[in-house]
Every structure is written in C-alpha cells, then in structure tokens.
Amino acid sequence: MQALRWIVLLPLIGAAINLTLGSRIQRSVGRAGVAVLGSGMALASFAIAVTGFLKLRALEPESRLLLDNVLPWLHVGSLNVSLAFQLDPLSAVMVLVVTGIGSLIHIYSFGYMDEDPALWRFFGLLNLFLFAMLTLVLGDNILVMFVGWEGVGLCSWALIGFWYKDHANTAAANKAFLFNRIGDFAFLCGTMLLFWSLAGLGHATLVFRELDTVVGLLEGQALWGVPVATLATLLLFIGATGKSAQIPLYVWLPDAMAGPTPVSALIHAATMVTAGVYMVSRLHCLFSLAPFTLNVIAVVGTTTAIFAATIAVTQHDIKKVLAYSTVSQLGYMFVALGCGAYAAGVFHLVTHAFFKACLFLGAGSVIHASHHEQDMRRMGGLRTKMPLTFWTFLVSTMAIAGLPPLAGFFSKDEILLKAYQHDPLLWGVGLVTAGLTAFYMFRQVFLVFFGESRAGASLDPHASAHAADHHGHHVHEVHESSAAMTLPLVLLACGALTAGWLGIPSALGGNNLFTEWLSPVFASGGEHHGVEHEGLELEYALMVVSVLVALAGITLAYLVYLRKSLNADTFSRIARGVPYRLSFNKYYVDEFYYGTVLAGTLALSRALGWFDKVIIDGVVNGAAASVRAVSILGGGIDKVVVDGLVNFTARAFNGVGGALRLAQTGNINAYVYVLLIGVTAVLLAGAW
C-alpha cells in the first residue's frame, strides 16, 4: 500500500518547509500559517493512518499486514535492507497513538507557544519528531527502526533545548541525547549480534516478519558461553532502557522537562519514551527465547516503577512529578513485557499516552496561566480559576491512580494480574507503586487546584531568591487557557476516561478487544493466556485490592495536603530525614553518574589530550632524552626537548644544514671555486 509512506513523509515535508522557510512564512502569512502547516500535516497523517487502520481491519486477522516498499536502501554483502514500511495491528496501534495524540498536541502548541518568536522552529521540529517516530513504528526492519530510533533522539535533543539561550536547557538536551546514545550503542551491538548469528545460520535478515520466523533457529546458539538470544535481547533491552528511561539510564528524562511542556507531553510521556516498549513487543519472538532477559526486564521494570514513584513523592516541580511518574509507569509496561504479557504492556502504553499527555498538557495549561511558574508550593486554588483544566486534570489523575472505570484501571490491573501470575513479589511491588502513584498524583491535584492560592509565596530558605522575584508581579492574572489548549485537553480526558474500555477483561464481562486485535501479532510469541485456569476469583480479588490501595493512597494525600490533619513534615523526618533527603535528591544518582562516568571520561579525555600533546607529539621519551643528551653535550641545555623526535629530526636537518650553510656564502665566485675544484677532482680521478 503506497499510502503508508505518506504517513511518514507528510510530517517530513511539513518539517522541511517549516525549518527552511518557516521564519518567512511566519513573517508574511502570520503565526497561524506555520501552525496550520504543522498541524495540518499531522492531521493529514492521522487521517491516512485511520484509513490504513480501517483497511487493516477489513482483512482477515491472520493476514493483517500492509507493506510499502519505498526504496532499496542498502545491499552490501549479506546485508540487504530496504526502506520499507509495514502496518500490522501492533504498528497500527502505535501509529494511531502517535499521529492522534501528536495532532492534538500540535493544536495545543499553537496556544501554548503564543508568545514565542520561533514558532516556526517549534512546529518544524514537532513535525520532524512525528516523522522520526512514525519511521520508528512503521519501519519494517531493524535498521529503518533504528533510523527513527535515533531520529527521535535528535528531535528530543532539539526540543528539550528549544529555549537554547538558557544554559541549563541545553545541558539537559545533551544529557538526554548522550544517555540515549549509550542505549543506542547497546542496541547497535545487539542488532549486529542478531544479524550475524542469523547470517551464520543462513538467514541474514533484519526484516521483522522474517525474523519472527527464523529467530527460533537461535536456540542452542551461544557466544562467549551465553546463549545468543539472551545476549542479543539484553543488549537490545539496554537500548530500550535508554529510550524508555529505565534504570540505569533513566536520569535524562526528569531533566528533559526543561523543554516546552507540549514537548514533554508528546515526546517524554506519550510517544518517544514508549519506543522501548514498542521495540520489545515488536521483537517479542526473540525476547520469548530468552527467559533470563525477560526476568531482567521484569525486575528492572518493577525496580524502576517503585524507585521513580518514591522520588515523585517529594518533588516540588509540577513537571518533575509527572516526569518521575512517567518513568514509573514505563516501569509498569516493562513489567508486563517481562512477564510475557506484551499485549498488556502495549495496552498500558496506549492508555498511559492518553492520561499522561492530558496531565502534561494540563500542567502546561497551569504553567502557562501562571506565567511559567512550575513550583507547586506557589500554586493552589486553581480549581475555580481554571475549571476545564481542573476537571480534565482530575479525570486523568484518577485514571493514572487506577480508579475504575477509567483507562488506567483496566490496563494497570491487567499488568498486575500478569505480574501476580508470574511472581507474586512483582505484584507486591507493583501494588505498592500503585498506592504511591495514587498518593503523589493526588498530592499534586490538591496542591495545585485546591486550597488557597499561594502564588508569589516565599519558599523555604532553599528556594532561590531569583524565582521569588521573578514571580511577584503577576499574582492576579491566572485565568483559563484559550480554546486551542482546552480542546485537546478535553479530547484527551475523554480518551483517559474511555480508552480503557477497549480492553475490558472477560472477568468484567468485556471481551478485551485490544488483546484480540493484537493477538495475530503476539500469537507466535508464545503469549500465555493464563487467565482461565487461574480462576476468576483471583482476578476479582486482585482488582479489589488494587482499588483499595489506590483509595488508601488518595486518602493519605487528602489527609496530608487538604485536611492537613497529618503534617507532611512528620513523614519527612522519619529516620532523621534520610529517606526524605534520598528521595528529594533523587538518590544522588545524577551526582553518582557525574562523579564517575562523566568525570571519568573527561579526565581520561584530558589525560589523553595531554598524552597526545606532550608524549606522542614529543614522541617517545627515549628519543626526547637522547636529544637532550646530545644538546647537553653540545654545550647548550635545550628547553624544548618535549617536542621530541619530530623536532629532533628537524634539528638534525638543521645541524647538517648549518654545516652546509657555511658553503652557502652567497658569493658567486665562491660557488665557481667549488664547482671548479669538483671538476678538477673528477678529472684527476678519471684521467690520472
């Protein structure tokens, strides 16, 4: 189907136009011009995606696959890769999420960025991001996916650092790119391992649908004593931890909040960070061969989930809370993947995309209204001033807290169920995380929307004086955002409300449309459908427990932050405040990385730079020393020994030259003398 390429190309065209001619369009046509171009491309792409989806649905479940082979790309040796796109149920879900939510965020951005002079650049980059993300999800082989994989990294870099005049933003951008690159490095190694292992078996391919059929051959293959499938999947998973912000490479995501809020919503909540989840699901056949890796994924997922949740509890920045919440929720998805419940993971991905995008956009609406105030301690009481924002935010918060019948309830419960079946310990940790999630999300709601307005309030001594100055003068101006911003909010809130109904489990009388839709994809991967034989009682019990835990979290938040019957300080003083400080300072992981990896690399780089300049360029100590010896013998102590052999050679030439120089008197007669003496000597030798 030729149209597939247009899903990808339209945003690219939009990006190309906006990034090259955008500033002119903005000047001549107006700000709306670039916004319409950007959003139009996103919407058009969404429209094509929908038709593709409909076309796909019309097919038999087993043969649901649309292909668009654009161009032979690389055909060298045993490598044969095309620029080709494929639409199957899994990528269809992703494409709809990316283009759908992407379009909404484009529209929102027009309202949010209403004061920014570089609107054209913003829309250009957003479109470029859509292009890259769509390449990632539509690519029919690993290499094309990798193009998107790194492409989203580029756009993420450019958009985090969108306000590049602030040093902190660019630092965050670079951090994001570099941590992603570490993951990409592992991803690349994993790809190469996979490719050559298969090539060794006579099936050199990187195309997903071919991989699905041939990866089984890897069983029994080993490299360095480790099964190839395990090694390859581990490497690929490290790639996923980079992109999807899992331990140990998650640290970039909270910093990435330096970007404009629509960017955080689109890239760092709804789409790009789910790329790792998508990749693992896409290669589920391979991952299913490596139980060890799946266990690692599950453990990393749960650890990340609870780890990030504990950090989120103490943060003051409205976006930081959401960022850690994203990390935590992504952990959930990986738990599902690790348990082999790929469909559940993708389901949570979709619902999360709705409510987290809505939360971010809501937060953006608040930030925008309060003139870029992000500290929750200076908010409060916005419920009445921004009713639409409040209601949509509340719906999404309930969704993420897992209250029925909102989206998060169904997807989270499915994951918890799968986790319980896999290992009750996973479930336990997941449950605690769910409670924490409910707590910190409602903490946020209460702090931001309820109570008295604390705008302009001075903070504890730790807060910077600059922030207080900066915000003193616009206390009274908070009001609801424009329609361009609230419309997407409402639509997304509807999604957060209803998206879960796609996957109502049979236990509750639904037929889990979502899992069924994805079943042709995951059928081959050995997804276990363990629901039936465990009995419905268990399922009900788990649901009730998780809802109760969520309610408990909400109640706690209510008591602490709204009724104030419990003082937050009592919690932060537990065990002399060590847990609080650990959480507030994000367990000092950043400091650890800076102190070890980054400082180590820089020190090594400086050492090598010195080595290069002094040792290599001054070559080999021996040569330098001999030059020194020679010069001492010569009576002069040479200071420039360092530059070594090169200069030694030069000096040697110079010495010989100096000797010869004496002959070079510049006097013509002298030259003739020499000439004649030479001739005479030759004649003497020859004739006598």
Binding site: Y673, L676, T680, L683
Partner: protein, 167 residues
C-alpha cells in the same frame, strides 16, 4: 706553412691575447674592449674552419649585440662620469693555480685521447646552405625552442629592467 696556417696563428694569437686582456685587465672598460678583440679572433678562427656562417653570426651577435649591451651595462652601472672604476681581482694566486691545474689536466686529457679521424679527407663545404637545411630540418624543434627562449629572454629582460612601479 701555408697562408691559411699563418692566418690561424695570427687569429689564435688575437683571440688569446684578447682573452688574456679580459682576464687580467684592471679596468672594466679595457676588459670589454679586449673581449671584442677576442671575439673577433674567434670569429676569424671560425672562418679558417670554413664555418663562414657561424663566423658571421659571431660577429653580428657577439660583437654587434652582446658587446654593445655589455658596454651599456658598464656605463649604466658605473655612471658615465667615473667609468674608470675598479675591476679589481681578488685571490688571483689561488685562481691562477686552479686554472693552471685544470689547464694541465685538460691538456693531458687532450693528448691522451684517441681522436677518431674520418677516413677520407673531409672537404670543406659552404656552410650557410647546409646549416639552413639542418636548422629547418633535423634541428627544427630545438630551433623553435630556441626562438621561444629568446622570446622569453626578451620579455624577461624588459620586465627586469623596466622602471619599478610603486608596489
């Protein structure tokens, strides 16, 4: 001793004396005049070698051209007023020894050399036509190159001696 032989000795003497004048004269102007004598002598020697064309060229180019520019140069560099400038020679002893040594060496080489004599008596031909044919036949390429060289010399001399413009 035929008249031709006498001619030879006279001319040879002329050339050598002229050359000696060039080499030993203390006055640059005298050197130049001696050079003229030497060149005439050599031209005469060419005639005795029945190379009348070469002799003509020698007279025309050397005596008429080279010598004149030499004189001009002498005048220009020394100024007309004090042409009687030094043409001093230094290190004559060493130079004399060296050249004498070379002279002896070469003389010896000349004596020892096995000269190949053509079998028959070579008749003297009129040379002008022959040289003309040779120049435009066998030696046409060197001839053309020579003309290029002369052209370059012409340009070069002009460039070198023109009034320097302010740079």
């Amino acid at each position: 001793m035929t008249a031709a032989d006498v001619m030879f000795f006279v001319l040879a003497a002329l050339a050598i004396v002229g050359a000696a004048g060039v080499a030993f004269s203390r006055h640059i102007l005298y050197s130049a005049l001696s050079l003229m004598v030497a060149l005439f002598g050599v031209a005469g020697l060419f005639i005795t070698l029945s190379a009348d064309f070469v002799a003509g060229v020698q007279v025309l180019i050397y005596v008429g051209g080279v010598l004149v520019i030499t004189l001009f140069a002498v005048m220009l560099t020394q100024g007309i007023q004090n042409v009687a400038v030094s043409n001093r020679a230094v290190g004559s002893t060493a130079a004399g020894l060296l050249t004498t040594g070379l002279f002896v060496l070469l003389l010896r080489a000349m004596a020892k050399a096995q000269w190949v004599r053509p079998s028959g008596e070579v008749s003297a031909q009129t040379s002008t036509a022959g040289i003309g044919n040779a120049l435009l036949g066998q030696y046409v390429l060197p001839f053309e190159v020579a003309s290029l060289v002369l052209l370059a010399v012409l340009v070069g001399a002009v460039v070198l001696t023109r009034k320097e413009t302010a740079e």
